[in-house]
């Protein structure tokens, strides 16, 4: 039928893995409630599959063969690759949607040179969102990756074009499809500076995202982002793709910097237009 939901969320491993170490449990619970509201929104949309536009951390792709974009077209996916005790998410098999994912890939290929993969392992970048958005792993998931890790990275204007292509593909399908872009805004994860968050930068980015300000969103250079938002800021690609897919204004339902979780935790959704 079409794209029926588009949103964004965080995926930092601390959100689940370090949840019981947090002092301000009320703050954690507010984040979890926002995730639960997003789950309900997706459920209410009637979505038959969930596209997760992610920024993986070397679960499938390495610098021997790094695609700018890849769509997972397998019947099933596996995850997490990380120690389940560390992430606090057990290893599981996630249902895919081979038929729909293949049709979407064929459609996207008309305008963006996307790779596809019939094998997919999920790291925290997909497992954390799924843990909240389909806790029993019942909703078929179509994983999508944008290279935010191995420079040279996917250019922001291409991430925008990819979002448009995903939207056109979804709208050409008979199924109802939801899409979530998941990435950090400013953060310095997996460095000794973990917990550093540039809240002002985040709020400016989220404002541009919510306003669908394409020119302002695509004007960030990687050098600026690295200096002001850390290497974790490279993941804004996933959020930009989600905005482009949605087309309508965004609303940020939750944003709070949580240093223990190493990111300004964010939940938002877009109008579809």
């Amino acid at each position: 039928m079409s794209l029926v939901y588009a949103g964004v969320c965080s995926h930092a491993p601390g959100i689940t893995g370090r949840a019981d170490m947090i002092e301000d449990t009320a703050q954690r619970d507010r984040l979890y409630a926002a995730f639960e509201a997003q789950r309900k929104d997706i459920e209410a949309s009637g979505a038959q599959a969930l596209i997760v536009v992610a920024a993986e951390h070397f679960a499938n792709f390495f610098m021997n063969n790094m695609p700018a974009f890849c769509i997972g077209v397998g019947d099933t996916h596996e995850g997490p690759i990380e120690d389940p005790d560390w992430l606090k998410i057990p290893k599981t098999t996630i249902p895919g949607h081979k038929d729909l994912a293949t049709r979407i890939t064929s459609h996207v290929m008309q305008s963006v040179d996307v790779a596809y993969a019939e094998e997919w392992k999920c790291d925290h970048g997909i497992m954390v969102p799924l843990h909240f958005l389909t806790p029993k792993f019942q909703l078929p998931v179509i994983p999508v990756n944008i290279n935010c890790q191995g420079p040279p990275l996917t250019p922001l204007p291409r991430a925008w074009a990819f979002g448009k292509a995903l939207r056109a593909a979804c709208d050409a399908m008979p199924e109802k499809v939801a899409l979530v872009g998941t990435g950090g805004i400013s953060h310095w994860p997996a460095t000794p500076d973990s917990g550093k968050i540039n809240e002002a930068w985040d709020r400016e980015f989220l404002d541009r995202l919510s306003r669908q300000d394409q020119a302002a969103l695509l004007s960030y250079t990687d050098e600026q982002t690295y200096a002001e938002a850390g290497q974790g800021g490279f993941e804004i690609r996933t959020l930009i793709t989600a905005a482009a897919a949605a087309g309508g204004r965004g609303s940020i339902d939750f944003y709070e910097p949580i240093p223990l979780f190493a990111v300004g935790c964010t939940i938002g959704k877009f109008a579809l237009s």
């Binding site: 491993p13 601390g14 893995g17 370090r18 170490m21 947090i22 002092e23 951390h57 070397f58 679960a59 499938n60 390495f62 610098m63 021997n64 690759i81 990380e82 120690d83 560390w86 992430l87 392992k121 790291d123 890790q149 191995g150 420079p151 310095w188 994860p189 997996a190 460095t191 000794p192 500076d193 973990s194 917990g195 550093k196 968050i197 690295y226 850390g230 290497q231 490279f234 240093p259 223990l260």
Partner: protein, 119 residues
């Protein structure tokens, strides 16, 4: 240059349960497939997170490796700082320490002892 090989090994290790099993049973044979300097080989064999961080291993790859080794969160962050103190700044990649070694996690959350593994 062999940083690529170090990361490739850790990439395989982090994502493949069979490689994880071999890591514990026959690390020497496993590492023979990669072109490593002595320094890199030693750091991998010892699970020296601080040295691997300074060598320039991508932080995400290193974080998953530290989790595999069962290193507690604040200990892991401290081992990277200690690596910089001992071996100098990060030599490659985009995961350099930019905060001067300070902790950005509130100290109230940071009361675990920076030693040992969590199990």
């Amino acid at each position: 240059m062999s940083l690529y090989q170090v990361q490739k090994f850790l990439y395989h290790l982090n994502r493949d349960d069979k490689v994880k099993a071999a890591y514990h049973s026959d690390l020497v044979t496993l590492l023979a497939d990669y072109e490593l300097t002595q320094e890199e080989q030693h750091a991998l064999t010892e699970g020296d997170v601080g040295k691997l961080y300074v060598i320039g291993v991508n932080g995400q790859i290193l974080m998953h490796f530290a989790a595999l080794l069962g290193i507690e969160w604040f200990d892991y962050l401290e081992r990277m700082r200690e690596g910089v103190r001992q071996h100098g700044p990060v030599r490659d990649g985009v995961y350099a320490m930019t905060g001067g070694g300070a902790s950005f996690t509130s100290s109230s959350n940071n009361n675990s002892k920076p030693t040992g593994a969590h199990q």
